[in-house]
Symmetry: C2
Subunit: 186 residues, 2 copies
C-alpha cells in the first residue's frame, strides 16, 4: 500500500498523520489542544482579530506568522465594510475545513485531485439579529455546500470522499451540533 | 433621547439600524439574506477562500473589496501552516460578531467605549478528528470568551452589554445551536 501511494500526491503527508494517530493513541493527553483568537475592537462594527499561538502535544506552539482578520458589517447595515462579516468568516471556516479533509481523504484513498472548489451559502433571516421577530433565530437557517471536484476517480468515489471529509470535519461538527460557549468580562 | 446620543460615539449608526428595523418589519421578505464564500483548494490542507458578494434587501450586493482567507493546518500536523486553521477561523467569526454587538449595544445604551478586547479559546481533543476514539467529537469541547472592556459605565452595565450582545449574536447562535448543513457534489 505504502509503495502504491507514492504516485499520488495531493500534498498531504498521510504517513505523518498515521504516525500521529498511533502516538496519540498511546498518549491521549497530548491530544488535548487549545485554539485561540484575540479580537481588538477598532470602531463601529469593525474589529481586527489575530491568531498567533495554540496549545497541543503538551506545549505551546506559535504559527509561522501571525494571521490577522478584519471583520465588519456591510454598507447596507450602515457600516463601513472594512472586512467580511462574522457569519461569512464562519462560512470560510466550514469551506476550508471540508476542503482540507477532501485532500487528506483523497490521499489516504489514493485518489489524485486536480482541482477542488466549493461554494458555501448560508441563508439568514435578519429579522432575528435585528430583534424584529423573537421566533426567528439569529444564525443561519441552513447552509448549502456545493463541491466541484476534478479528480482521477469515479463520481461515486468522489462523493464518498466528500462524505468522509464531512464525517471527520471539526467545523462541520461545530456548526451542525451545539457547543457550549461561556462569555466572561474581566 | 436622540439628542443625548450625540455625545456618545462608538462609530455605530444606531438611527440607521432603527430605520432598517422599521422598514424590514413592514417588508419581511427583504430580510432574507444569503451569505457566501468560495473556496479553492491549493495543495495539501491549504486553501484560499474568497468572500465577494451577498444577497439581501431583495438584490445582490458586492463588498467594497474581495476578502480572501488562506487556511491550512499547522506544522505539528505535518502541514505547511500557510494560514490559520479552519477552527481558529471560526473563533475569529465568534469574537468579531460578539465585539460588533458590544459596540452596537453600547451605542444604543449611550455607553462610550474606550477599548474592547476579547480572547477566545476553544478546547479540542484531536482524538476526534484523527478517528482514534469514536466517542470524542470532532469539534470544540467548549469555548471560553473573555472580554476586557474600558468604558464609561459601571461593571454591571458592562456585563449587561456583553450579555445583550450574546443574545443578538448570529455566530454565538450558530455555535451554540445546531444548524443544518447539506453538502453536494456537482
Amino acid at each position: 500500500m505504502a509503495e502504491a501511494e507514492s504516485t499520488i500526491d495531493n500534498g498531504v503527508n498521510v504517513e505523518a498523520l498515521i504516525n500521529a494517530r498511533e502516538a496519540l493513541t498511546e498518549a491521549p493527553e497530548a491530544a488535548q489542544f487549545k485554539w485561540r483568537a484575540t479580537c481588538e475592537w477598532k470602531n463601529g462594527t469593525h474589529s481586527n482579530t489575530t491568531v498567533e499561538g495554540y496549545f497541543g502535544l503538551g506545549e505551546e506552539h506559535r504559527h509561522r506568522t501571525t494571521f490577522a482578520f478584519d471583520a465588519d458589517h456591510p454598507e447596507v447595515f450602515a457600516s463601513e465594510d472594512k472586512g467580511a462579516t462574522p457569519v461569512e468568516i464562519v462560512l470560510v471556516g466550514l469551506a476550508s475545513c471540508l476542503t482540507a479533509g477532501v485532500a487528506a481523504v483523497a490521499q489516504y484513498r489514493e485518489i489524485q485531485l486536480r482541482s477542488v472548489t466549493a461554494v458555501v451559502e448560508g441563508g439568514m433571516d435578519i429579522q432575528g439579529i435585528l430583534g424584529i421577530d423573537g421566533d426567528v433565530r439569529n444564525g443561519f437557517d441552513g447552509i448549502k455546500v456545493t463541491y466541484k471536484i476534478d479528480a482521477d476517480a469515479s463520481e461515486d468515489d468522489i462523493k464518498a470522499l466528500v462524505a468522509q471529509s464531512q464525517k471527520r470535519s471539526a467545523v462541520y461538527d461545530i456548526i451542525t451540533n451545539p457547543t457550549n460557549v461561556t462569555v466572561e468580562v474581566n
